[in-house]
């Protein structure tokens, strides 16, 4: 396995949970609901997926159970925020806190147990194609699911009538309501889809990324997914690009750290000098690069106010109480 191939494979594994969680949240926000509970839903997905796979010995049952757990957990948010019209920001935060605690409690028995890995595909001839074989045909199923979901969301939002309806609910729930669209029902479905995706992201973490359950194992990835949605200005393909950019920077900085100057002794003078310059950057800075990149892009995007307004769902985070 070549170095470039190895790097790309690692990046894909790092980017997939972000992409899964973010693409779900994108649909939620497109419907005008802000669910800050992504981290909590991911953790619920991770622990249930791990537990199910551990008990049945089948990783696919785990994936399914994780996604459903995320979905059910999001229903809790839906009931509070949509039916009881609580504050969405506070409810979302509460969902995250609840998810951290609840998943820790459920998962107590699973800590330290060997997990079941959702293995990578291995298609006889195709996977062995040099350079691209492993990348295209030899990754874990979650990688393909995340890409299919992204394409599906893109198609649904911008090519179907139902997608148009969902977006209209997010842009102006009053107008949509006046047209006879069932705003709350649509938002419920969007929230559940978001939970489903976050659950899948969690399942990827506990079945593919590290194959174990550890308390709080998402370590902030839910928040990064939330930032990615804004970063992508609510566009699916930009979420894809953002997730991979984020994964790439994370992995690249680890590679920079692991490459010692001694390894590069054969490089021509100027290149060696440049490498020395890069190596002189403190690792704390390199570690924060993905976050810095997110902020920089956010600043660049928000410079054009008109464009930002055009993309932001106008009813985002605003409660809707139908007035008959």
């Amino acid at each position: 396995m070549g170095m470039a191939e190895a790097i790309l494979l690692t990046i894909a594994t790092a980017a997939t949970p972000l992409l899964l969680a973010a693409i779900g949240e994108l649909v939620v926000e497109r419907s005008g609901v802000l669910n800050l509970g992504v981290e909590g839903m991911m953790l619920m997905g991770a622990v249930v997926a791990f537990g199910m796979a551990y008990m049945t010995g089948n990783a696919w049952f785990g994936v399914l159970a994780g996604a459903i757990a995320g979905m059910l957990f999001s229903l809790f948010f839906g009931f509070l925020a949509l039916t009881l019209v609580t504050n969405q920001v506070a409810t979302g935060l509460a969902l995250t806190l609840l998810g951290i605690g609840l998943s820790g409690m459920i998962g107590e028995a699973f800590v330290g147990q060997p997990g079941v890995k959702l293995g990578a595909l291995d298609i006889p001839v195709l996977t062995d194609i040099p350079l691209v074989g492993r990348l295209l045909f030899g990754q874990d199923p979650m990688f393909y699911i995340s890409l299919l979901l992204t394409a599906g969301v893109m198609w649904f939002l911008f090519r179907t009538r139902a997608g148009l309806t969902l977006r209209s609910v997010g842009d102006s729930h009053s107008s949509a309501h006046a047209l006879g669209i069932k705003v709350i029902a649509i938002r419920y479905m969007a929230v559940m889809f978001g939970g489903f995706c976050a659950g899948l992201a969690g399942a990827q973490l506990s079945l593919v990324y590290t194959t174990q359950w550890i308390e709080n194992m998402t370590a902030g990835r839910g928040w990064i997914a939330l930032a990615l949605v804004v970063f992508a200005s609510w566009r699916p393909w930009r979420v894809l690009a953002g997730a991979y950019l984020f994964g790439a920077i994370t992995i690249a900085q680890l590679h920079i750290q692991a490459t010692n100057l001694g390894d590069l002794a054969g490089l021509p003078g100027p290149l060696y000098w440049l490498a020395g310059l890069v190596k002189a950057v403190p690792s704390q800075f390199l570690s924060s690069l993905p976050y810095l990149a997110t902020i920089v892009v956010l600043v660049l995007i928000s410079r054009n106010r008109r464009l930002t307004m055009m993309n932001t769902p106008a009813s985002l985070g605003r409660p809707f109480v139908p007035d008959r």
Binding site: A258, N260, A280
Partner: protein, 359 residues
């Protein structure tokens, strides 16, 4: 009417004093942990130590144990420690470096409660003691093993934060390795976290992709061990015996054994002989224990055991001269031994570490 009130008051007082008497029979030891006790690493070992102390000192009838898990370092810690001090704890163990200032602050308010802070150096009040273990002794042994086993001559080191404790570990590992193979190289990756299984796994993958064939870590999750297992290379565990996560992978692990120390200090509180101390125990004191040497040939195992014995007996000190600093300047002359103060504030690499230390 009035008589009845008085009676009730008397009864209540009697009850209360009975309660106090009951409490005095038992010693209450309280623990603040930085992670979950199920982390199978740092906090897990502290909790094992707490349980060992309870058993050693006569079980639940004699010692009551209370603990709080996943207490963030900083302002929140102060509230948690104070709550314990108020709730009748006789002795409070705060088990992470970041609790240092909070521990001292609360200790000022509760002079009758004893406080023990792990890995810190501030003892601002007579009721604060500090304790730590010489984990670097174990890392020296790991270095010896790594250099004996590695075919490529490169090990990967997943580090957390550039604090003296971690830097000391890297230096000791490298010195141990170079005692076997003077050209041995170490690739250091700073994860800048104590606990992020995903990131630790990524770091392990990256190191393996870059050609290391042995991995050691100074972060707390079991993820690197698992990656090493998947990729078929060997690894060292961290803080506790992680053999369960890599039966064919773990070479050994530095196990933090806090039990004997906790038992000793708990006993001192019971006997009323508790005094402020600053303890830095190593292999000789039983603070640092090595998990069984596994997955290695017998000659390497023998070498590892010999090294461990020499460190335990005091014949070998990882930081005994001559040692140069990374830039080649002299640090310790022949026959000189690093003093504890320098080690506990270590912010430089020794010669042979090919990495820039983040400052």
């Amino acid at each position: 009417m009035r008589k009845r009130t008085l009676l009730a008051l008397a009864a209540a007082t009697a009850l209360m004093s009975a309660g106090t008497a009951l409490a005095q029979d038992k010693t209450k030891a309280c623990f603040i942990y930085v992670g979950p006790i199920g982390d199978f690493g740092w906090s897990y070992q502290h909790h094992q130590g707490a349980l060992e102390m309870q058993e050693e000192l006569g079980g639940e009838d004699k010692v009551e144990i209370a603990y709080l898990e996943s207490v963030p370092e900083g302002a929140d810690a102060e509230r948690a420690i104070e709550r314990f001090a108020r709730s009748g704890c006789n002795i409070v163990f705060t088990t992470s470096f970041g609790y240092m200032d909070a521990t001292n602050k609360v200790a000022a308010k509760f002079p009758d409660v004893k406080f023990e802070h792990a890995t810190g150096f501030k003892r601002e009040h007579p009721n604060v003691a500090t304790y730590n273990s010489k984990f670097h002794e174990g890392r020296y042994v790991q270095g010896v093993i790594a250099a004996s086993l590695s075919e490529k001559g490169v090990a990967g080191y997943i580090a957390s934060f550039p604090i003296p404790e971690v830097v000391m570990g890297i230096n000791s590992f490298v010195l141990g390795a170079q005692s076997v193979d003077p050209d041995f190289k170490v690739k250091v990756v700073w994860a800048n976290t104590w606990f992020d299984p995903g990131k630790e796994a990524d770091a392990a993958k990256v190191l393996i992709d870059q050609g290391v064939d042995i991995i050691t870590q100074h972060t707390d999750s079991t993820a690197p061990m698992q990656v090493a297992h998947e990729r078929g290379i060997k690894a060292f565990g961290q803080a506790s015996d992680m053999i369960k996560f890599g039966p064919e992978t773990q070479l050994t692990s530095i196990v933090d054994d806090w039990g004997p120390y906790y038992a000793k200090r708990g006993k001192a509180v019971m006997d009323g002989t508790w005094e402020q101390v600053d303890v830095w125990g190593g292999m000789a004191d039983g603070h640092v224990v090595m998990a069984p040497y596994t997955n290695m040939p017998d000659d390497v195992k023998k070498l590892a055991e010999e090294t461990q014995d020499k460190i335990t007996s005091g014949e070998l000190n990882p930081f005994a001269g001559p040692i140069n600093k990374q830039d080649g300047s002299e640090w310790l002359k022949e026959g000189e031994v690093a003093d504890d103060g320098t080690l506990l504030g270590m912010n430089f690499y020794v010669e042979g570490v090919d990495d820039q230390l983040p400052q």
